[in-house]
Amino acid sequence: MNKFYRNIFIFIFAAPAFIVLIGVVFYPFIYNVVISFSNMNLSHIKDWHIVGPKQYVKVFTEPTEPTFFVIFLKTVIWTVVNVTFHVVLGVFLALLLNQKIRGRSVYRTLLILPWAIPQYIVALTWRGMFNYQYGSINLIITKYLHLPAVEWLKNPEEAFLSCILTNVWLGFPFMMVVALGALQSIPQELYEAADIDGASWYKKLTSITIPLIRPVMIPAITLGIVWTFNNLNIVWLVSNGGEPSDKTHILVSFVYKAAFNLYRYGYAAALSMVIFFILLVMSLTFMKSTKATEAAY
């Protein structure tokens, strides 16, 4: 009897979410898989047919400038750098905010603003701040730091860096909020006991804080990796669509250009599937190494 009720309980609890998910995501996914093996493009938009793995071959061998592997590498760098800074800054600020200091709620409110503001206008504002002559960043660098101005948007490396800086700014509040929540799950007594034992702040951080916020941070980090990898908006807006010369692209912005500029839907579908598998492998590896799917016991 007990087992039966237990199963019903699980079902009622877990199933509704899944029904929604399967409905909304499953069909588009299958559709995309099918299209990726077809020749859907400008001239074959209604009468497309399956042509086998031709599009996949194109993804890897087409002489695009830059090549697939270069863009892939850039996307990895983009993801790793962004997520690292998001998490480090987020946890750091959460730790500071978790203490009893005056004006705590003021700080919290101000620090969450990057998350709250619509991305479009703020990305373009950042782009404006990176302007060589009139942007605030160069003005601050030259006037207050007495360093030479940087041509942020002109060269590929600096342009990429500008996108990263903007995205770090946009993303750290989210990790901060998650970290703040995670910190609440740590019982005060543990810290008190550690203090009695004379532990240093470093020991407390590495032995108590970090292990205990892991269960809540890991989902955020995993998803942060996935979202950052696929974040089209910021790269597109700050670099104005890949400038200079299509060198500031990550995989998704490249897909966007391929699909929507030249109507090559089959190609874009195949490229999207490749992106999907890359992410799948990356996330599975990450989760396996952090044992994220384990239950409470």
């Binding site: 909304v24 559709y31 200091i101 409110t109 969450i112 603003l113 019982p187 696929n230 992410l279 239950a295």
Partner: protein
């Protein structure tokens, strides 16, 4: 004795200094948007660094409420976002609990498949989603949007709830069962309150997903009467003739509910709840 007091003082001062620095970094671009909203002509950029521009005017704000159906968009967005938040929190809190406490067939696959749904570049899903929604008669309906947004937000929410539940000792439920609660009551009365911080994260995230989402809304909603805020904002935008004044003003106002929600919810986020009710 005094040296320890001094050390504490310096630490506190340093903490404040760091927080102030980051607060400035966080706020400065937002201030630029304020400037944009106050400029009389539609200018995204300016050669001057002033925060309050010369000839600052509230014209854009006034126009937003009188010429544009801004309040309608706010109402629509609020309706959609609140529904998504409630649905998301409810479904996620339950699913996360099942994943955390029970071992059942398809548990691992279920968790992984949640992740899988996030890995696909959204722009590629538009055409099939549109076709599917037409087939289901959900085009141009709020039900269609609510279902889609909930589905988008759920994976993160479920994972987060599960992760948080994992940090709550099972012994608490056992204690509750001994006291006569059944499983559901144990969940509802004991565990859920303790998971309040995670519920806050889940709620905020669901709200933000619905409040600021544009692509799906643009695809699904065809009636201007149904427009949500992101669609409304986009109507000020054009490739080369964006109404920056209106856009800036609207962007700032759009932020306000999010910040208010955060303020209201952060009480439970930093409440310092302890889990010391059961030792060991």
């Amino acid at each position: 004795m005094t040296s320890r007091k001094n050390k504490k003082y310096y630490l506190k001062a340093a903490t404040h200094a760091v927080l102030v620095l980051f607060a400035i970094i966080a706020v400065y671009p937002v201030l630029q948007v304020v400037t944009i909203s106050l400029r009389p002509s539609d200018k995204l950029l300016s050669t001057s660094l002033e925060i309050i521009p010369e000839n600052a005017t509230l014209k854009s704000y006034i126009s937003l409420f009188t010429d544009q159906p801004f309040l309608l968009w706010v109402r629509n967005s609020a309706l959609v976002s609140i529904t998504v938040t409630l649905t998301g929190v409810a479904l996620a809190s339950m699913s996360g609990y099942a994943f955390s406490r029970f071992n059942f067939i398809g548990r691992r696959m279920g968790l992984l498949s949640l992740l899988l749904t996030q890995m696909f570049p959204a722009t590629m899903l538009l055409l099939p989603m549109y076709l599917m929604l037409i087939y289901l008669g959900l085009i141009n309906t709020y039900l269609g949007i609510i279902i889609t947004y909930t589905a988008t937000a759920l994976p993160f929410c479920i994972w987060t709830m599960k992760g948080y539940y994992d940090t709550i000792p099972v012994s608490l439920e056992e204690a509750a069962r001994i006291d006569g609660c059944n499983q559901f009551e144990a969940f509802y009365r004991v565990i859920l309150p303790l998971a309040a911080p995670a519920l806050v994260i889940t709620g905020l995230f669901s709200f933000m997903t619905a409040w600021s989402e544009y692509i799906v809304a643009a695809q699904i909603l065809q009636d201007t009467a149904l427009w949500t805020l992101p669609l409304g904002l986009k109507s000020f935008e054009a490739n080369m003739s964006t109404e920056w004044g209106l856009y800036g003003a609207a962007s700032l106002i759009v932020m306000v509910p999010v910040v208010v929600l955060f303020l209201v919810l952060s009480r439970w986020l930093v409440s310092g709840l302890t889990l010391g009710s059961v030792k060991g």
